[in-house]
């Protein structure tokens, strides 16, 4: 099992008021899965994705990744863990505007010990997979939303992480462009075996996944949450 969440609770405390997002949530995600996560706004989808990605902490409960408890990791351990295992894809792409497509894609490789030549080679491969080889030197402002999201996908997978976490990756794109992006994600899942968790509003988008979970007020409405 790639992910095991056991009795996970998440609360935000602000000005003496406590907001409970989930209480005793359980979830399994096997390796190679492609999960679409749907649910109304504010139901906690992003929060859950952030917990899976190690950029937010649980209030209580256990989060295991490949058999290792990551909920107790320090900030530094989490940084290294993310660099090795997670690729993030955001709704608004989150590219560095002052860097070219290739430079953006290269960022995760700065955290490895690869040589400059090897980094360039991997960047070229990643851009090729998302069909953007001819845009390597372009800057984000010179590209369409769909192209920028493809750069972001290349960045997320360039260091070959097991996991891709996507928060509404097509939320800002038109239907045709969204389908291109979703097809690319499907290819990454089917052919490269990436495990993907994707938050989406869009039932059409959810169809590209292997299964869909529905989160409502911090509770899954589905039966098949646990393996």
């Amino acid at each position: 099992m790639l992910y095991q969440l056991r009795n996970v609770s998440k609360r935000f405390t602000k000005a003496k008021e406590t907001l409970t997002i989930f209480d005793n949530l359980n979830m399994d995600i096997p390796e190679g899965d492609f999960v679409a996560m749907m649910g109304p706004s504010g139901s906690g989808k992003t929060t859950l994705l952030n917990i899976l990605g190690g950029i937010d902490k649980v209030t209580s409960g256990e989060v295991s990744f490949a058999g290792n408890r990551i909920d107790g990791y320090s900030e530094g351990q989490l940084s290294e863990w993310r660099a090795a295992n997670v690729g993030f894809i955001f709704q608004f792409y989150n590219l560095m505007p002052m860097l070219s497509a290739a430079q953006n894609v290269e960022l995760p490789l700065m955290l490895t010990n690869l040589s400059g030549a090897k980094r360039k080679e991997n960047v070229a491969t990643a851009l090729n997979i998302v069909n953007l080889s001819d845009r390597a030197k372009h800057y984000p402002r010179e590209m369409s939303g769909g192209q920028q999201q493809r750069v972001a996908i290349a960045r997320a997978m360039v260091s070959d992480p097991q996991l891709l976490l996507c928060d509404e990756p097509t939320g800002d794109l038109d239907r045709t462009t969204a389908d291109e992006i979703l097809t690319t994600l499907q290819v990454l899942n089917r052919e490269l075996g990436k495990t993907i968790v994707m938050v989406t509003h869009d039932p059409e988008a959810a169809r590209y996944a292997k299964r869909t979970l529905h989160l409502n007020k911090g509770v899954f409405e589905d039966k098949m949450v646990m393996a």
Partner: protein, 394 residues
């Protein structure tokens, strides 16, 4: 460690590349820091230049005697009889039996600044050929020495540079008397270059000081004879005089005045430093907040908090360094070596030049880097510590 360095360099590169997005804000921070550096350098160069002029004025083998309690020539009075006693004093150098003692008059006359025509106090010194001989560094750049018994005067080159009406051949009125300028002299950048010199007996009669002088200078047989002369003067009830070496006399004046200049400069620079720190903080907070999503994304990807912190700090320090260089270059090009004058210890104008030293420049640059460090520190802390989840969706 190599990895940390690589992360720092990647983040620093990204930060620097993003500076043009905040061009005006970054520029205003650079300018504020340049101003601090400029003001501090200006004052320190001024104090240093002043000190250099005064401390090059005195030698250890000439004693200067002033009335007890006077620390400058202007408020000292010495009588003719006292001069005669000094001529017989031990430790004084003699040539063919004649003591090298110069009784000098020092009166204040008016001059006008070339730049704005404003009146200022100029020293007119009356001396004789012995007094002239006690300043071996004096050379004529134009004209010749005044002839004894005439209303001829010679003027220092610094004074001619800063004040009008003192060119060679001009006549000039001091009170009721009229004088002709017959020579312009250099004196190794010393305070004498800010003086007018005339024959002592003529100055005495024109200013009605028939029996009195302001100071006595005595050439010592050797510098260590100062003690002997001082002991002799202190013992004699008729000589209520204070004996110092010329070097000590000018060093004390230099310290007083240059301390004053520095004591004005530092508080001003420090007040401006607070402004510059506020500006740098503002720029860096804005740099960090405008790029919250970018920084959060970098950290989500796996860039560490420490490299994020250092990269942001370096951005601020680089802005400060640019400001420091800008301020230094401007002062170096436009102020260093500039001639100016200021009130000296005798309430007369002393002409000197702004003078930068590596030490002064280092001081100002360190201050600028400190501004950058403080201005970057807290924003960098925020960039490194803010929860990532809250940053990436900004």
């Amino acid at each position: 460690m190599a990895n940390t360095l690589r992360q720092i360099s990647a983040i620093t590169r990204i930060n620097i590349k993003s500076i043009p997005q905040r061009f005006w804000m970054s520029l205003s921070t650079i300018v504020a820091i340049a101003l601090v550096v400029g003001v501090l350098l200006g004052f320190l160069a001024m104090g240093n230049g002043f000190k250099k002029t005064l401390s090059s004025s005195g030698t250890k083998d000439v004693a200067i005697l002033l009335r007890d309690g006077s620390d400058s020539e202007i408020n000292s009075v010495v009588m003719r009889e006292q001069t005669q006693l000094i001529e017989e004093a031990p430790g004084v150098a003699r040539v063919n039996g004649k003591a090298l003692v110069s009784a000098e008059l020092y009166v204040v006359v008016d001059g006008k600044r070339r730049t704005n025509g404003i009146k200022a106090n100029m020293p007119l010194r009356g001396l004789d050929s012995t007094g002239f001989a006690l300043r071996p560094g004096v050379t004529f750049s134009k004209g010749r020495l005044f002839r004894p018994g005439t209303n001829e005067v010679i003027v220092g080159s610094g004074l001619v540079r800063e004040f009008s009406g003192f060119d060679l051949g001009q006549t000039i009125r001091f009170g009721t008397s009229t004088w002709t300028i017959v020579g312009v002299f250099d004196a190794g950048g010393s305070v004498y270059e800010s003086e007018i010199w005339g024959d002592v007996s003529v100055v005495q009669s024109q200013f009605k000081r028939l029996n009195s002088y302001q100071s006595i200078r005595a050439k010592l047989a050797s510098p260590d004879q100062l003690a002997a002369l001082k002991a002799y003067v202190d013992k004699d009830q008729r000589l209520k005089l204070e004996t110092r070496s010329e070097a000590d006399y000018f060093a004390a004046q230099a310290k007083q005045s240059s301390d004053l200049i520095s004591n004005l400069g530092w508080p001003l620079a420090i007040i401006m430093t607070f402004g510059a720190v506020a500006g740098a903080l503002n720029t860096m907070y804005s740099s960090v907040s405008v790029r919250t999503a970018e920084i959060g994304t970098l950290r989500a990807i796996g860039f560490g908090g420490f490299p994020t912190f250092v990269g942001t700090l370096i951005e601020a320090v680089i802005l400060a360094a640019i400001g420091a260089v800008l301020g230094s270059v401007v002062i170096w090009l436009f102020v260093n070596g500039l001639s100016t004058s200021s009130l000296g210890g005798s309430f007369t104008q002393v002409v000197f030049t702004f003078s930068l030293t590596p030490r002064i420049i280092t001081t100002a640059i360190l201050l600028a880097l400190l501004i950058g460090f403080i201005g970057g520190f807290f924003p960098a802390l925020r960039a490194a510590r803010q929860p990532i989840a809250a940053m990436v969706n900004e």
